[in-house]
């Protein structure tokens, strides 16, 4: 009665199994070649036969000036129609390219000053090299070695402190630095620590250097090739800059050898090193021998911290209303903890954001309408879209706050008004958060904290939460900052600043009055002036508080926010952090939840013979320590498998018959085979280690607990 996969009698293999069956033992094979049905750009999606007949153009730009007029009346009624998939995909591409450009601009701006400093230093160093060793052009082309003194052999080296143990974030920075230097005419080669490995030796890094600078050269690690390349044309007017992004991960001996070699060639090839240092400036001293260090002429630069970058990214990408995509409070909190506790790299944050963006556009029906939500004067376009997409209204019924739109005569009006309000509140929200950020800057607060708190829907209370029949579809509530939260701190800071301002003004004005009136000070006038200033400032502080309370409306409290807001934190988490160690164990221990069969009983803790063999084996293994006796394990497995069979057979069959005996022998062989297969499967998953020679009867458990 076994019903689970491995317990089944052999069933005909699936169609594709037969095709790939011949390929199972081939290291690789071509599954299929690209099908070129047309020369036009390919689309991944095929429309359903019903919707193939209709072709429509939907303007995604959000611009009111170009409403598409030639619209076919027959529209796809199914929200999952491939045409909408295509629209969503296009919208994603546009949105992400905008976000991506913003991110790159922000990161470039952060480093721009440093890049300029490095460029000036490179130019100055090159001039110094040329000044200390005035080499005629003939000398450049003369054969190696060039006799020079020790001073000329020193290579100017910039150690750029990344202030970040994770070098991933800085890969892009060093690439952009390379591009920046290339623009000023330098010959730049970006090398990585992999080029300085002990296994490949000096040959590998020279090959990489040649491959970057002299792409047409033969594949020979010969530095003289670089020398002759450098002497050609007018190349010797600019230095060769070698960037090593993570020098601490390089092999010290290979790097030292490379430095010594380059210093020998310093006159012929004026090289300048730029090396990324993740820990301290003392790192090169620990890595390199004194001989190599003597060849370097160091100079220190420092990059911004990951937190600074993150602040800038949050501000530019998620707060300023330039993007068409945002995230919910839960997602923001997850991303914050992912950044602070799990990974700590800006790269992973950007990656997570992109993944959230993809998931949003692939999961949310109306996400394709998000492109243009934040542009002004698009009411006509929205109305037009509502007209050409009658199903939009139908789809909006899925959206949670749609029920509140009863006050409008036409659904289209409600839709357009809703989107308008979304745009208005989004802008307000962005402006207020920017104000809070500015305050936070003085207090060295993390923008991410303010951002998360400003998104928290629980901080926002509606004025009339029970009045669902209200004609006002838009929220009219107040934002109450959490006590001790970032926003409360920021507001407190504003209060402090106002008080400081008051004190300054008091002293200034008081002094003025005293000066003007001299000895005849009218005390009441002075007090009145003080009182009026104080009340004005109090009003200013109250105004700030009121603005925060009334205009900081979290997205999740605004109707139609689903169009631009990604909320599925669990989906993002699953896609971002695969946790195979835990998940595979859960698969085996709770196989019923995945297979959803009705034969295995309702409780996961009970072992049933109809369960998957490997699942049975792994559950049985939980009863052992780190070593499992094979014999005992097999007997338990056999007992579990035969448990239900023997119960049913005992009733009707005579136990002494010969047929029964043969069946039992066959059954034993089958159980042994199933046992072996389950052990192999556990080995493949890495949950089991094979017996050692010392204890051949025992296998070793590897994972304990989830």
């Amino acid at each position: 009665m076994a019903s689970c996969p491995s317990s089944d009698p052999p069933s005909p293999p699936p169609a594709s199994d037969g095709i790939s069956g011949n390929h199972n033992l081939q290291p690789f094979f071509v599954l299929h070649k690209a099908s070129h049905s047309s020369s036009a750009p390919r689309k991944t999606y095929e429309r359903s036969p019903a919707s193939k007949k209709t072709k429509r153009r939907i303007d995604l730009s959000g611009s009111p000036s170009k409403p598409s007029k030639n619209v076919d009346d027959s529209l796809p009624t199914d929200p999952s129609d491939p045409i909408f998939d295509q629209l969503r995909f296009d919208a994603f591409n546009r949105t992400w390219s905008k976000i991506d450009t913003t991110i790159k601009d922000v990161l470039r701006k952060i480093n721009l000053n440093l890049f300029d400093d490095v460029r000036c230093w490179v130019q100055q160093s090159f001039l110094t090299i040329r000044a200390t060793s005035p080499v005629p052009s003939i000398a450049i082309t003369c054969p190696y070695p060039l006799s020079t003194d020790a001073l000329c052999k020193q290579i100017p080296t910039a150690f750029i402190c990344t202030k970040n143990a994770e070098f991933v974030d800085d890969l892009l920075t060093f690439q952009e630095l390379g591009e920046h230097l290339k623009c000023s005419g330098c010959h730049v080669a970006n090398l990585s620590s992999l080029d300085f490995s002990a296994k490949h030796g000096i040959g590998s890094c020279i090959s990489s250097l040649l491959r970057t600078l002299v792409p047409d050269a033969a594949d020979v690690a010969d530095i003289s090739v670089l020398g002759s390349w450098y002497s050609e044309f007018s190349r010797h007017d600019n230095p060769v800059v070698v960037i090593i992004d993570d020098m601490e991960r390089s092999n010290g001996d290979v790097l030292a050898e490379f430095i010594l070699m380059m210093s020998e060639w310093a006159i012929k090839i004026p090289v300048i090193f730029i090396m990324g240092v993740a820990t301290t400036v003392g790192a090169p001293k620990r890595l390199l021998p004194s001989g190599a260090l003597r060849c370097l002429l160091p100079c220190k630069f420092t990059l911004g911290t990951p937190c600074e970058r993150m602040n800038a990214l949050i501000e530019a990408v998620l707060v300023k209303p330039c993007t068409r995509f945002t995230i919910s409070h839960k997602v923001a909190v997850f991303l914050r903890s992912y950044f602070l506790k799990h990974d700590g790299t800006v790269t992973s944050f950007i990656r997570a954001l992109k993944l959230a963006c993809i998931k949003h556009f692939s999961m949310e029906h109306l996400s394709f309408l998000g492109y243009g939500v934040l542009q002004d004067d698009c009411e006509v376009a929205w109305l037009h879209k509502h007209e050409i997409l009658p199903d939009v209204c139908k789809y909006t019924s899925i959206l949670s706050l749609h029920k509140r739109e009863k006050g409008f005569e036409r659904a289209g009006d409600a839709f357009v008004n809703g989107l308008n309000e979304l745009r208005r509140l989004h802008k307000n929200w962005g402006s207020i958060v920017m104000c809070l950020f500015e305050t936070g800057k003085f207090n060295k607060m993390r923008f991410f904290d303010i951002f998360c708190e400003a998104l928290d829907p629980s901080s926002y209370t509606l004025n009339c939460p029970d009045d669902t029949s209200s004609t006002d579809i838009f929220p009219g509530g107040v934002f109450t900052p959490a006590k001790g939260g970032s926003i409360a701190q920021a507001i407190y800071k504003i209060h402090e600043k106002v008080r400081e301002l008051q004190l300054i003004m008091r002293s200034v004005d008081g002094g003025k009055i005293l000066k003007e009136n001299g000895a005849d000070v009218d005390k009441s006038e002075f007090l009145h002036a003080r009182k009026s200033i104080s009340s004005i400032n109090e009003k200013a502080a109250t105004l700030l508080e009121t603005i925060v309370r009334n205009l900081l409306v979290p997205f999740e409290c605004i109707p139609f926010h689903e169009i631009i807001c990604f909320k599925h934190v669990h989906i993002l988490q699953t896609a971002l952090i695969g946790d195979p160690r835990r998940t595979i164990q859960v698969d085996l221990l709770k196989s019923r939840a995945h297979l959803q069969c009705s034969c295995c009983g309702s409780h996961d803790s009970v072992i049933s013979s109809s369960m998957h063999d490997t699942s049975i084996m792994y559950k049985l293994a939980q009863e052992y320590g780190d070593l499992i006796n094979l014999h005992d394990w097999y007997q338990s497995f056999k007992a579990t498998i035969l448990g239900s069979r023997s119960k049913t057979k005992r009733k009707g069959q005579s136990p002494a018959s010969k047929k029964m005996k043969t069946a039992l022998i066959e059954g034993d062989a089958m159980i042994q085979a199933r046992f072996c297969r389950a052990v192999i499967e556990l080995q493949i998953t890495g949950l089991l280690r094979m017996p050692s020679k010392r204890r051949p009867d025992f296998v070793q458990r590897v994972a304990f607990g989830l």
Partner: protein
Amino acid sequence: MAVETRRRRRSLGSQGITFWPERLAADPGRNPVASSLISISQTSRCGFGLLMYGFGSKKVLLEDFASTSLTDYGALVLNGYLPSINLKQVIIAICEMLQDQLKTSRKGSVRKKAKTQQPLSFQSMEDLLMFLNEQPSDDNESFVCLIIHNIDGPALRDFETQQYLARLASCSPVRVIASTDHVNAPLLWDKKMVHTQFNWCWYHVPTFAPYKAEGVFFPLILAGSSAAQSTKTALVVLQSLTPNAQSVFKVLAEHQLANVKEEGMPVNTLYTKCREKFLVSSQVTLNSHLTEFKDHELVKVRKHSDGQDCLYIPLTTESLERLLQELV
């Protein structure tokens, strides 16, 4: 009841399987679009590598997915569960596929020809990767899908291979769709590989399908472990011995390879040969080496047909050849 389960399984194995990952993650009732296989292929098109994990073989799943939703692009399958794989051949095949693809789509020559017009097989890995990197990616439409079964398989488990795979995955015209089965698979990659090269998007797909192809090379636990003396364990033992002991083993191995049909090498013959090569100075020295070999089950003794004791290595000819190659 059993029929119901089987039916469910088959649907996973044939058509339903393609959109299963998203359906597991999202509630299909509330998000019908989430159960679209397009979203998975979109993720791949957007530059993410797809990594399927969970218990059960994912071989059929991945190949079905590629056959149904990635037909516009070339697809190459790499069986990572095999004990040995030549990665260079794989990269050459990808380069060839891409060249064909670009030629057909543009009806012209490839924008950047491979270095010095050499045949691809003559070029180094670096050149091949550079060739792939330099292919145009602006249209984001011409790419090759590399499907890797068991990216954590025995032949792909070393750091260097993973580095090459990561670099391959970061090439703009290559999209990687892989499966992993080992619980410790994430330990294979550093942050650079994960975040910037493979760029994984994880999908939990517990298919519970039997590991038919993947388990072929694992020894059966009840078939006796002595017979399963692998090349690797022998190599580890030999590398821990002295060079002279290794040379004695080589003499025996070479004799066994040259005389496959013989039952073994008599001890006296081995002694004479080793003495000629100045590997041992006396019978006592040879015996000490042989004791070491026997203790580690590298060498066994059996009776020759003429009653004489002879030595043999309990490895297949193929394993022995590989062992000698790796021992050099």
